[in-house]
Amino acid sequence: MYVAVKGGEKAIAEAHALLARERRGDPAVPELSLDQIREQLSLSVDRVMSEGSLYDEDCAALAVKQARGDLVEAAFLLRAYRTTLPRFGYSLPADTSRMHVRRRISATFKDVPGGQLLGPTFDYTHRLLDWSLAGQSESDLPRDAEQEFPDPAPMPRVLDVLGREGIIEAEDRGDDPEPADLTRQPLDLPAARDVRLQNLARADEGFLLAMGYSSQRGFGTTHPFVGEIRMGEVEIEFAPEELGFPVTIGEITLTECETVNQFVGSGDARFTRGYGLTFGQGERKAMSMALVDRALRAPELGEEKKGPAQDAEFVLYHSDNVEASGFVQHLKLPHYVDFQSELVLVRGLRRAMREEESGHDS
């Protein structure tokens, strides 16, 4: 039985006013604009879009500001906002082979056609605090003098190179079934790969990172190579009913990771695949997702389950930080009546024990 708790309206309003003041901080310090958040905290914005499962940089910047930089809370705000909007339909599958690539690396081949492009990365930085960013002086970033570059080289997918040789499994689309949609149907097990990938794409990065890491450390059997990571912009196409043909509606930033994993078979030995794809620039998440995607394929590849990362129920039911945060944090809401009943029970048990003991003593 649920017993409602009433009252506290005034205190709640005051608490929210305090929250607003804390959010603003010292009024002597200029207020952050959404443009500043979108442009200068872009990886926060990307993470919120990924875990909020809604691509809109302006909304995500607002959510980051409103949540005082709490990114899980900001993702929650986006999830809540999306429920107020009608669903127009489904896009055509985003084609990452037509990405306008800003970063592309392979850990399996050094001479990949199209080359390796480091792009904007934290890799190879020394992780020393850069005090020059502490002031307001860095307006003129060093930039190369005007250079003429040839047209961008085409960047064929690294795994396609292996695919042509037949030494990596093909991505089988079967009869291309309509994918399930977790925003419409609740998660049900066993979950097919389309459901798993949607779940992982909106999953908490920290959770995926830990799961992926655990699978590398022995709680699972993944031992992957990073075949390719690419990041850049992809144009999204949608076919409105009234037109009957697809049109480009805009472009979004995506990060993709494809892993080359442990092979199966012997005479027909073949590498297997893991796949990660995320909104925005989110390499850590895309890589973790690829690790976990591969780990979750254990049953279909006949692998023994040795760790939580291979357990679909464990991973898929605990990956969503909005759900997890809701269930963990509901504990702090009034449970007075529930607790009273437990209290009565425990006191009763103790009293019964004492009475029994004093009965023995006498």
């Binding site: 990924s50 809604l54 691509y55 809109d56 302006d58 909304c59 909007l85 009608p86 669903r87 127009f88 339909g89 896009s91 055509l92 599958p93 985003a94 990452t96 082979s97 306008h100 800003r102 050094k110 080359g115 390796q116 492009l117 480091l118 792009g119 250079q147 570059f149 961008p152 997918r157 795994l159 991505e171 689309r173 079967g174 291309d176 079934p177 309509e178 994918p179 949609d181 977790l182 925003t183 790969r193 389309d194 990938l197 949607q198 794409a201 909106r202 144009e235 999204i236 949608f238 409105p240 009234e242 043909f245 049109v247 509606i249 805009g250 472009e251 979004i252 494809e258 796949y275 909104f279």
Partner: protein, 149 residues
Amino acid sequence: MSTTESRRREWMGALALADGARLQEAWDALPAAPEYRVIRGPETGLVMVRARAGNTGRRFNLGEMTVTRCTVGLGDGIMGHAWIAGIKPEHARLAALFDALMQIPHHSEEIGVTLIEPLLRDRGEHLARRAEEVRPSKVDFFTLVRGED
């Protein structure tokens, strides 16, 4: 795909990828603002972005994006549509208007020259500039063979 359809896809894509302010400038620069009525929207909703496992395998739902759509009608029964990423009611209304005008031959010639072609050119330049910015970070890894003999 018919030529008309592929041309329309091209200009609708250009209008969608454009900066909304450019469309406003082009609208203000029209010699006479045409009569029109808004048939639907502008309204913002969601499109679920799909992808494929490994880019070629089974489809899956990646996550949603906000999209604003608008439909306008000109006096002579011609309808213009727009589907624009983001919460962009003005952008969508103007894009729908230009989509309608582009279907009328005497308008399309002029708007093609004054708006669509410049947008396509700017888009090409934007992509080239972005590619040029990252090009210097292209790396040549090499391995060193360290033999004993």
